[in-house]
Structure formats: structure tokens, C-alpha cells
Amino acid sequence: MRGTTRVKWVVGVAVLGLAATACGSSSDDKKDDKGGGGGSNGLPAGYFSAYSTEPQNPLQPANSNETGGFYPLQLMFRGLYTYDSKTGQPVPAMAESVESTDSINYTVKIKSGWTFHNGEPVTAKSYVDAWNWGALSTNKQINASPWFEKIEGYDAVHPKEGAPTSKELTGLKVVDDKTFTIKLVQAYSSFKASLGYVVYSPLPQEFFKDPAKYGEAPIGNGPFQLDSANGGWNHKKSLTVKKFDKYAGDDKPKSNGVQLQFYTSYDAGYTALRDNKLDVIDQIPTSAIGSFKKDLGERAIEAPQFSIQKIGFPLYDAGWGAPGKEKVRAGLSMAIDRASIVKAIYKGAEQPATDWLAPNIPGYSKDITGELTKYDPVKAKQLVKDGGGIPGGKLTIATNADGPHKEWVTAVCNSINEVIGQGSCEPKLYPEFGVARKDISGKKMTGAYRTGWRGDYPFPDNFLADVYQTGAASNDSGYSSPVFDDLAKRASAASDQTQAIQLWQDAEKQMVKDVPSIPLWYYVTKGGSSTKVSNVQFDPYGNPVWTEVTVK
């Protein structure tokens, strides 16, 4: 009867498993109260929680190119400038003054009274050392290139081949404790506006002792400091910061602390927010876009973003790139009834585009594109006809089916079909974003595609030079206009900003003639908050305004 006893054992395991679950639930409920899981109720008094993801890299200012790493840095660091939470314009933070007469040589004076979280004063050296370290290729900082390559001496510290020949950028010089100078490779009229970006943050001397260890528990000079007592950076789980009492900036935090909670998906985060277990979410999952205003009521938040939706064209393609086809592109643009589409799909939150620049970007204009962005069925049809018709007889607009874009692409096509004739436009669906991107950036498109752009800093070159200048990293359409390039070059190198903005507008007038892409509308951030916090806002870059949130 050996077997019989063993059968008992099998059933025994199952019962044991259940018993374990039962015990587990009672003892673990207590643990839950201590935090980690449930919203502001589990957090220390005056703290709130926000959706985020695990930072991909050690927390060093130049080592983040994703939101997960960007949020903690934004909470714990402040550079020379910060960006206004409403307009997105640069506002001096640590900068007393940044002066330049030629947009090449800058003299930076910093304010006194600022200290790092460990008490060390922030000096000119804190900036110069930090930038030198970030630019050095052997330190393998993922976000170094686009920002530091503008500074003189970058080629020596970040050479294309071989080891760096110098450890310091020749363009940076400490004058005294509160002053340093920057020399750029060439004139950049937008340089000052970009100085609020987190890559240009200062670092304390503590950093250089062991950068890797520092990356786990950074010491910054920002409004919040790492809260080690409440877990600090608890990998794959959360990152908690508390208010820094000696913060010298004007934007002092109105809460006691923030816990970034690393959810696995926006869907899971949204469920938690709806149940009041999470306080702030910076994006609504696609599945809830239609219902979030009803679900959340007053807790739903919308805020304008420096972000534009466009239709791009493969100008490298024989059909679309042929001379005269700009008329067809202009006609298609006029065949799109932006106002009605936006009203139907976004309930009017998004604004129809009248410029390739987003509103509040210096140089933005309500009429620069003129007729091009106005709905005019008669003229649209005429222009398409004048241009010799749509290449291939039909316009396809490629988009990825895994995002929230399919709906509006269909709507745009319907609008074009009504004006130009049935069957002249059709969405082309890619299964996922990555696959679509690969074809677009690999210049393998034969039809139009959806494309968007979100600004990093408020200046036209971020929206124009980076996308439409010949050979620019993100010039997916292959647009190349000598007139535009010349104006762009002059605008980038202009010695003062007003002149630069004027030149950018001239460059845009060339774009109106060439129609390298069709501007559609400007995006808004869609987020939400719990009932336990108030004054949750999003800045034009789509980030929560951390310091303004108050906990009820």
C-alpha cells in the first residue's frame, strides 16, 4: 500500500499551497500600509506618488534619454535655467546672467547661496567639471552628443575613432567661483534657450570619487533630494525623493516629497489612478483615451504640448520628389478639414496647426502657412490637378496600428476622399511602431506617413533645423532645399535671437512653397490625478510640474 500514502502527499501539496496563500494575505496587508503599493495613503505625510518607469541607466545628468531617467534628474537637479511651467520659456534658475555678443562666446555668472544636497556650495567649477565629465567619450554617457558637441574641443574628448586626446573641453574655462566662460564651435542662437535642459546640470565633487556609486544615489542641487530613509531608489519598484529644505530656487516644492512608482504599463497605472492608489499619471493609455474624461471627471487633465502631428512625404521617391508635386502636397493639405477632425476625434482639445512650430515657440505665427493649412475643397482639387495628380493615383498614409493614430489617419483620408474623389486616400497600417519607424528612417517609404515632433527646448531650430535641414539626423523625408539650408544656417548662427527668429520665419516661407510635410495639429498632454492631490499641472514638454503639486 505504498502508493496510497503518496497520493495523500500530492493532495497535501495542493492544500499547502492554498494555506500559504491564505496566511500570506493577512500578514502582507500590514506590509502594504508601509508604502510601495497604495498611493499617497501608504506614503509619509505630504508625499504624493507619480507614474514612472525604472531608469534605464545610472542617474547621471547626461545619461538619460527616456522619461524614466529624466524625471528623477528633473526632481533632483537645477541648471542655469529652468522652463516656465505654463509658457515653456527659459527662466533663470542658477544663472545670474548669461551674456554673449556674438552667440559664440558666453560669460556665465551664477547666483550665490546655492548648495548641493550634501551642503557643498555650487560653483562655476561644479558646472565645468560636470560638463567635461559628461562629454568624455570613455564615460559612455548616452545623451552627451547632441548637447556638448556644440562646445569647442568636443572632437578631442569625444573622437570618432580611438581614445580621447584630452579630458577637458577647451571651450570651458572657470574664471572665478561664480563665473565661467563657454566658447562654442560656431554661433548658435538657440544655445541659451537650450541651457535649461537637464544635461547641463552641475555636479558636486562627491560625484567624481565614484560616478557609478553616485549614479545609484545622486546628490543634486534641485528642489528635491533622494529620500534614502523611505527607500531611495528601490530598483524596479520606486524612487522616492523628499523636499530639500535649503533649496535656493524660486520654485520651492509645495509637497513634502514624491514617490515615482514604476508601473509595468500605462494600463496598470491608469487602473491604479482610477482607484485612487496613484496620484499623478502623465499619459492616458490608448485603451482609455475615449473614456478618461468620463472616468476621471474633474481629475482628468489636459495641457498644451510643444508637439505637432504631421504627414510626411518620401521626397527621395521618384514620384513624390518630382518637381511640381509640391502643388499636389499643398492641395492635399487644403483638402484636410482640420477643425472638424479635431473636434470629432479629440473633442476640440487639440488645436489645428498653422505653423510647423508649436504655439509659444518664439516665432510661432497664426498665418505663416496662409492658405496651405486652410480647408478649401475647390482650390485643393485644382492644385492636385495642376500638379499632375497624386503619384501612383492613390495616397497612402502609413501609421502604426499599436498606437492611438489609426483613427485620425482614417479621418484625414476620409476628408481627402471627399474632396479629391473616392479612393484617392487610404491608411496603410504597420503592426507596430518599431517596424514603421525602421522603414521611415531607412528611407524605404513609397507613400506618405504620419510623423510627429516634440520639442526639447523652446526655439525654432529644434522644430526646423533638426527635421528639415539637409542631412539632419531626423530628416526622414529627405527634404533638401538650398534656400532653406542657407536661411537655416544663418538663423542658427545669428548673433541675436530676434534676428534668428526672423530668419527662421523666412526659412519657413520656403517650406510653404515646397511643402515637405503637412502640418495637422498640436498635441495636448492627457493626464490625470487622484483625489488626494491638487494643483497638478503639466508643462509644455509634457512633464508634471513637480514643485506645484499640493497634497490634501
Binding site: G36, N57, I142, T264, T271
Partner: protein, 309 residues
């Protein structure tokens, strides 16, 4: 019996080396440059890409890369991911979460699945049987993300019977009950149907008639004779299913915010991070192999006619 176990354990060594190489090869074949991919839509910094590729031996031939990996692994070093964090830490974090989730799902499917199967097998053609058959058909035909989302909304958010989302990183047992239920439901349906068929068939077997004829009480006939023999196909299914519960729970994990092995592997595959993928999958392969062995040994327990030498 002892020799049989030793032999089986020794067989695991070539299987282990073979699978790790195969997976390493497959990740290698995914194509594309994982370092450039770290930059997303923006243009990659060629200098950064060059230095990182050197650091991770990505320019070496496949076999050399694998050699670096396997020699490290044999010294107990699982390697590091592209952002410099040890893979072992990731595994140590993700596996306990998935094991807990799988245990709950497993317990649910064994207890409820076998229970329901026995019930409907004994009452074939009666109302209870029809209900079980219809119920399991519904569960089998509904995709898991529908089931998960609906269960989360009603049982979690609206009625508050269970917790709707788990806390990231370290979910508690109680937070895993609902995802465990959803995860186990599909297998539960299979287990119930397997048990039902098996029980119904064995009802007519000679040894059951004999047991009844010699006057044993019905309860004893059912539990000792009928159920035990009927469990063989069920145990085979359950053994293989445990691995699937751990690695294949990615949809359920996503809905309920459980950060387990499924998600770890998925993210690592999208990032082409061979060391993480191979480490996690190798551990799963070991679990499969061990489960398989246990299942084979259980056959002997359930059916005395089966012997291993």
C-alpha cells in the same frame, strides 16, 4: 529508482548547454544593433555605440561571444545588461514574483480543476456535467486579456473583492490572488475537461467494478481507485503547465502590474539583451526539466504497474 534519477539528471547537462546556445544564437540572429536601438527615434551617437559594442564584445563572432558568456556563467556570473546592472539581480527579483504567481495559479487549477472534473465525470450527462462543460468552454474561448481586464474591473476596482493591481517589484500574496485566478483559469478548464474524460472512461474499468463488487464504500472507490488512475494525463499536463505559468504570463502580468519573468524576458528580447534572455530562459529550462522528472516519477506513484529501474 535512484539510478534512474541520476541518469535523468546527467541528461540535463547536454540539454542545458544545447538550449543556452540555441537561445543565444536566436537572440544574436534578431538582427539590428541593440546599442543603436537604445537611442530610439533619435540618431545614435556613433562614438557611444562603438565604445559600448567593444565593452560587450558585440563585434566578435557568435561563438566567441557565447564562449565569454558560458565561461562566466559556469563561474556563477550571469553577466551584466547593457546599462551595467548585473543580470543575477534581475533574475533574483523576477523569479520569486513569478514563482508565487505560478503557485497560486497552480493551486487554483489543481484544486478547482480536478474537483470540477471529478464532479462532472461522475455525473456524466447530468446538469452539473453540462454546466461544467459549458463553463469551461466559455473560459477557453475568451482571450485572457478580456478575462483579465473584465475581472480586474469588476472583482477588483468596482466590487473591491480582490486587489486590482499589484505593487511593482514586490507584490504581496493577496495582490496575486486575482492575477493567479485569471492566469490559472485557462489551465483550470483544461484540467477539468481532462479529468472528466479520464474519470468517465475509468468508471467502466474492470478494477472499479471489482472494487465496487467487493463492497468498498463509494467514497473509497472514487478517491483511491478511480481518481488515482485517472490523474495520469492530468499530471502530465500540469507538469508542463507550471513552466508555462511562469514564463507565459506576460499578458496577465501586464494587466495586473506584476513585474515577473515573462515581462523580464519580453523586455530583454526587445532590447536584444542576450545575457538576460539566456539567463532567464536557462533557469526556466531547468524548471521544465525538473518538473518533467517529477511528473515521470509521479506516474509510478499513481500507477503501481509503472516501475523505473
Amino acid at each position: 529508482m535512484g539510478r534512474y534519477v541520476v541518469r535523468r539528471l546527467l541528461q540535463m547537462i547536454p540539454v542545458f548547454i544545447g538550449t543556452t546556445f540555441l537561445i543565444y544564437y536566436m537572440v544574436y540572429q534578431l538582427g539590428g544593433d541593440p546599442i543603436s536601438a537604445m537611442f530610439g527615434d533619435k540618431g545614435a551617437d556613433p562614438v557611444f555605440v562603438r565604445l559600448k559594442r567593444e565593452e560587450f564584445h558585440l563585434n566578435d563572432p557568435l561563438i566567441v561571444q557565447y564562449w565569454y558568456y558560458i565561461t562566466d556563467l559556469l563561474q556563477g556570473n550571469f553577466g551584466t545588461s547593457f546599462n551595467g546592472r548585473p543580470v543575477a539581480e534581475e533574475l533574483k527579483r523576477a523569479f520569486p514574483v513569478s514563482i508565487r504567481l505560478a503557485m497560486i495559479a497552480f493551486a487554483i487549477e489543481v484544486v478547482i480543476g480536478v474537483g470540477l472534473g471529478l464532479l462532472s465525470g461522475l455525473r456524466r450527462g447530468k446538469l452539473a456535467d453540462t454546466m461544467v462543460l459549458a463553463g469551461t468552454l466559455v473560459v477557453i474561448s475568451i482571450p485572457v486579456f478580456v478575462l483579465g481586464t473584465v475581472a480586474q474591473f469588476w472583482l477588483g476596482s468596482e466590487w473591491g473583492i480582490f486587489e486590482a493591481t499589484a505593487s511593482v517589484g514586490d507584490p504581496t500574496w493577496s495582490q496575486l490572488v486575482l492575477p493567479g485566478l485569471v492566469l490559472g483559469s485557462l489551465s483550470l478548464a483544461f484540467v477539468a475537461r481532462l479529468t472528466r474524460t479520464s474519470v468517465a472512461e475509468n468508471m467502466r474499468a474492470d478494477y472499479v467494478r471489482t472494487a465496487t463488487a467487493k463492497g468498498l464504500p463509494r467514497r473509497r472507490v472514487v478517491t483511491r481507485h478511480l481518481l488515482r488512475n485517472s490523474l495520469i494525463p492530468v499530471v502530465t499536463f500540469l507538469g508542463a503547465d507550471l513552466g508555462a505559468l511562469m514564463a507565459g504570463a506576460i499578458v496577465t502580468e501586464g494587466i495586473f502590474n506584476v513585474d515577473g519573468v515573462g515581462r523580464l524576458i519580453y523586455l530583454a528580447v526587445t532590447k536584444h539583451e542576450s545575457s538576460t534572455v539566456v539567463g532567464a530562459v536557462a533557469a526556466l529550462v531547468m524548471i521544465y526539466l525538473v518538473m518533467n522528472l517529477i511528473v515521470d516519477l509521479l506516474y509510478a506513484v499513481l500507477d503501481p504497474r509503472i516501475r523505473y529501474a
